[in-house]
Symmetry: C2
DNA sequence: CGTCACGTTTACCTTGACGTCAACCTTGCT
DNA sequence: AGCAAGGTTGACGTCAAGGTAAACGTGACG
């Protein structure tokens, strides 16, 4: 019986099958295949089977993180590609990524402000509704 | 020449053509037809032409507002319908609306918290990136 | 040989809120 | 009569991020 512990951390040069990958990152096979089609991952293909390298794992980690920041898969692909194409221009790349992140951050903050505003407005409307409701009930009494 | 002021406020019993409606609310004709199909609006149909009543305007105002709160058109339709079907049960209806709003508010607040968290995380990552960048530049010098 | 248990590919489906397009009426003006 | 402007319907397209289904492959086990 496989040890009941959480999946043991895979070594740097392990190759993971799709199932292991899925449980490591809590995604479905469909997602991994989809990401491969979108060129976010490039697992080794032995025959038709997939084996995910350390690099794939690092990339997937980045993808999932970036998704939480609200980047689209296409955005993420472009960033990842940038680092792949010419692993030389690190300074330029890092600044570009930084700039992108800054833009996204601004967007997120704008979004949060709008959300705050909407929340305040909704609270207002609800207060109004609560008043109307108690009026109704008083009138009924 | 039509007066250069902003479209003058239409009187309560005016009927607006689709164009006027569009400019009043800054939506496209497609949107109005779509909302009609979704039973959010019910303009008078003279022949095939549409004429939007005061009631339609009030409903549209509500629709657009609710959309900003993140309600789906279907949610909105149900609320609107509730008030149309039996204009008697005001207490029950108002409480139901209130409950829905409360649920939505909780959702929005959760969403804001997640957003805040993501923002903090992104800021963290950016700080890290900034460090790496300045390290790079020092090493290059 | 049968048949699990996984794996794969291809291809279509989903959801929301419209956009886009074609083809057809009306009206009003000339 | 002609014709353009503006209206209408209906049908299909769009976007993201996968879900779902069908049909097939492959290896191990008994």
């Amino acid at each position: 019986m496989p040890c009941a512990f959480d999946t043991p951390p895979p070594a740097k040069d392990d190759l993971l099958g799709i199932r292991q990958m899925c449980s490591q990152f809590d995604v479905t096979p469909r997602t991994l295949r989809f990401y491969e089609a979108k060129e976010l991952l490039a697992p080794i293909r032995r025959g038709t089977a997939r084996f995910f390298t350390y690099r794939d794992r690092a990339r997937l980690k980045l993808v999932l993180r970036s998704k939480r920041f609200g980047f689209s898969l296409e955005d993420i692909r472009q960033l990842l590609d940038m680092y792949d194409r010419d692993p030389g221009q690190q300074d330029a790349q890092l600044s570009r990524t930084y700039a992108l992140a800054a833009g996204r951050l601004a967007q997120m903050e704008r979004q949060r402000d709008e959300l705050d505003e909407a929340i305040a407005e909704l609270k207002d409307a609800m207060a109004w509704g609560a008043t109307a409701l108690s009026d109704l009930r008083n009138a009924a009494a």
